[in-house]
């Protein structure tokens, strides 16, 4: 058997059998789905809240109570704030809303107050409800006709349409943006984790001194490539397992989510004008097979490129703690695209986005982002892959020169100057 494949196979089997691999493969999708589902579960908690309303205006209380979600129990009271505080503290009330008389003044200096035990606007849309009601009252007081008041209270719907060569799609901009973020972070984390794993593997072989035995059997390049390919296959297996598990869980959880998800008509204040999209439906609407294929290809390309660099860094040090300074120039270019993520997702067709999505060090992350948010011409995707492949060939040649010198060097901590010398003399 080819030695590179033999080494790759051994690396692959060794790691895929480890507890770490099995735990991570199962835990990550669970966490991912949980992070989606838990907020929804919390959101759908429809046990109504009990709120006291102290209406000093004598006119607004009823309107506010109506504007609040249906399942809210509103208690009109004129108890002093101190006693309401006590009731909130011992749990008899969830909150207390105080509407001072001066709210009706059209100048609007007065402030409403809501007492509760913390949380971000626990009564979703409370602020909006109060605002609507007060504005309406002020407008009426100022003599506005009911028609004018209605006109200002009316909602204006805005339909977003995503234009692409295949025809116009519905409003999925938010879904596409979420997807872009998700895929970019997944590639970023995967490249970092598996690249580091390659580095750690190289350092371990060097620290164990096994490398000299292996180097007397195979060429250093075969050893390095075997390790890179074997760990890459581990990464790919894990990503595919994650995708399959998440897809499975989403399908299984879909009906559950729909059941649990709040019905906008009942849970939302009337006329609030906010739509809560179903994330699962949103994602499934924008994930195309082409995107999945591109995602896998760009992960492979990006991983190969960076893991070769990580292998070179690993070969130059005796122990992991020494790798800090040398790995910075490798880790930094992986992190930079993440900072450009929002810009590229916002304007996927700008020159900056085009350049960054073609440049091999950033294309694995940013081309996938562009593909997620817009319709990227096939030639650009192909060009990015070709450039990535070419960069890999160049980088692995350089990395191999550092590697084959580095693995036999012990003692002195290598500097960038040393690496440069190894590159030239090896």
């Amino acid at each position: 058997m080819n030695k590179t494949l033999l080494i790759a196979k051994s690396e692959y089997l060794r790691r895929i059998r480890s507890k770490w691999f099995i735990v991570a493969t199962l835990a990550v999708p669970l966490l991912g789905v949980a992070s989606f589902a838990l907020p929804l579960l919390a959101f759908s908690d429809d046990s109504g809240e009990r709120i006291a309303v102290v209406d000093e205006t004598g006119r607004l209380g009823e309107a506010v109570a109506e504007a609040l979600p249906e399942n809210t129990e509103v208690v009109a009271t004129d108890a002093p704030v101190d006693s309401l505080r006590a009731q909130i503290l011992d749990g008899r009330l969830d909150g207390a809303l105080v509407l001072p008389e001066a709210l009706l003044d059209s100048v609007g200096e007065a402030r409403a107050a809501y007492y509760a035990r913390g949380g971000i606007d626990p009564q979703g849309g409370l602020r909006r409800s109060v605002r609507e009601v007060v504005r309406q009252a002020r407008a009426e007081a100022a003599g506005a006709s009911p028609a004018v008041v209605d006109a200002f209270a009316s909602d204006v719907a805005l339909d977003r349409v995503t234009v692409s060569a295949d025809g116009d799609g519905g409003d999925d901009a938010l879904g596409r943006f979420l997807l872009a973020n998700f895929l970019a972070l997944l590639i970023y984390i995967a490249i970092l984790i598996y690249g580091m794993l390659v580095m750690r593997g190289v350092i371990e072989e060097k620290a164990n001194r096994i490398v000299e035995v292996v180097a007397s059997s195979v060429r250093p390049f075969e050893l390095m490539m075997g390790k890179v390919l074997g760990i890459g296959a581990v990464g790919l297996s894990q990503l595919l397992a994650w995708m399959a598990l998440m897809a499975g869980m989403t399908v299984a959880a879909g009906p559950l989510l729909v059941m649990l998800a709040p019905d906008p008509a009942t849970a939302m204040p009337a006329g609030a004008g906010v739509d809560v999209p179903d994330p699962a439906a949103m994602l499934s609407g924008v994930v195309s097979p082409g995107l999945v294929v591109a995602f896998v290809l760009f992960f492979i390309g990006g991983y190969l490129l960076y893991s070769a660099l990580f292998a070179a860094v690993g070969s130059a040090v005796d122990q992991e703690s020494d790798a800090q300074s040398l790995q910075a120039p490798v880790v930094l270019p992986i992190m930079l695209p993440v900072f450009f993520l929002a810009i590229v997702a916002d304007e996927p067709d700008s020159t900056l986005a085009l350049v960054l999505s073609l440049f091999p060090l950033s294309s694995p992350i940013l081309m996938v982002v562009r593909m997620a948010v817009t319709d990227v011409p096939v030639w650009q995707v192909a060009l990015a892959l070709v450039l990535l492949g070419a960069a890999f060939v160049g980088v692995i040649a350089l990395a191999a020169r550092i590697y084959r010198v580095g693995i036999l060097m012990y003692g002195k901590k290598a500097t960038f100057g040393d690496l440069w010398r190894w590159l030239r003399t090896a």
Binding site: M1, K3, L6, I7, S10, R14, E205, N208, R209, I210, V211, E212, V213, V214, A215, S216, S217, V218, R219, L408, R421, T425
Partner: protein, 330 residues
């Protein structure tokens, strides 16, 4: 083609340092070749070129007439001075994997590994993780990994370091078998005594250069029978006048025994006469060839290439340490 290992004018530089400087030697099949020299003399650098881990800047290395390269790597076994194994792998898997890297099929590797584990009374370790083994057990595993693919050339760098006497004996036995089976054995060490006891041929290197080589017998003969050992009872005062006159030099001295190098023109009987006159009793008097460590010292200082005196001191120290440990063993 018999597996003759041949180095011709091999030179290796690391930056400004010349690690190996025009070294030539030939190691014959069926013989044990000792590559000797102090730490830093260039032994490991030389071995790395033989094993094709590195390549020489000048000169050639051939095995059985074929320049070394990936095909010859499969026909060599290498036990490096710094031992190393995959700590997490099970012993059996580890040996099969390392044998496969040498080009064996999985099935053949499994058979050979089973045979060797048996031979070393280690069959029960096959399913243990390597890190669970004691250091001595790991040494055995490492040695098996060196010979499991039945190599034509076996390279052992300081094979006895860290071995207890029983395992050292086992190793000597196996090395002897390989020699008898027509394998070439290259044995690198800075411990002159173990080399002296085992090797047929030797090459002494210092400062990257070969300063002396040939068969052990020939090398010793070349230096002549100029060494005398006297075992005696009583005061050693009789030695004083001899050394002061420059007739002898004391190589080593302990209570009741002295090893002396005869000066030019000093007949052995002059020493015997002085001893008879000065010592209470003579237990033993022997004229013999110098010990290898002394030959090495002479060869290095006598050569035009100076060797750092500190290197020589180190050499002397290790050898006296070895002597101490040997006498403890007895």
């Amino acid at each position: 083609m018999p597996p003759v290992l041949c180095l011709e004018n091999v030179t290796k530089r690391y930056g400004q340092t010349v690690a190996v400087d025009g070294v030539s030697f030939t190691a014959e099949p069926g013989r044990l070749f000792g590559l000797l020299g102090p730490n830093g003399a260039g032994k490991t650098s030389t071995i790395r070129m033989v094993t094709y881990i590195t390549t020489p800047d000048a000169g050639t290395v051939t095995l059985g007439g074929e320049p070394v390269g990936p095909p010859t790597q499969a026909r060599m076994g290498y036990l490096p001075e710094e031992r190393g194994l995959y700590r997490k792998l099970k012993v059996g898997e580890q040996l099969v994997y390392l044998a496969q890297l040498k080009g064996m099929s999985e099935a053949a590797a499994k058979t050979a590994v089973a045979h060797w584990l048996d031979r070393f009374d280690a069959a029960s370790w096959a399913d243990k993780r390597t890190e669970e083994l004691s250091k001595g057990m790991q040494q055995k595993v490492q040695f098996i990994s060196t010979v499991v693919h039945d190599p034509e050339l076996v390279i052992l760098d300081e094979p006895f370091s860290g071995l207890d006497p029983l395992n050292a004996d086992l190793l000597v036995e196996v090395i002897g078998e390989m020699r008898d089976a027509g394998r070439t054995v290259l044995f690198a060490s800075h411990r002159m005594e173990s080399v002296e006891a085992l090797c047929d041929d030797l090459c002494l290197i210092a400062g990257g250069q070969a300063v002396l080589q040939g068969s052990l017998r020939e090398v010793k003969r070349r230096f002549g029978r100029d060494t005398v050992t006297v075992a005696f009872a009583g005061d050693s005062g009789w030695l004083g006048p001899l050394t002061e006159a420059g007739a002898v030099r004391v190589l080593s001295q302990s209570e009741g025994q002295a090893v002396l190098r005869l000066g030019a023109g000093t007949p052995p009987r002059a020493v015997l006469e002085a001893a008879l006159a000065g010592a209470e009793e003579i237990d033993r008097f022997e004229v013999h060839e110098p010990p290898l460590v002394d030959i090495f010292r002479q060869a290095v200082t006598g050569s035009e290439f100076g060797v750092q005196s500190s290197e020589l001191d180190r050499l002397g120290e290790t050898n006296s340490e070895l002597r101490t440990s040997n006498s403890e063993l007895r």
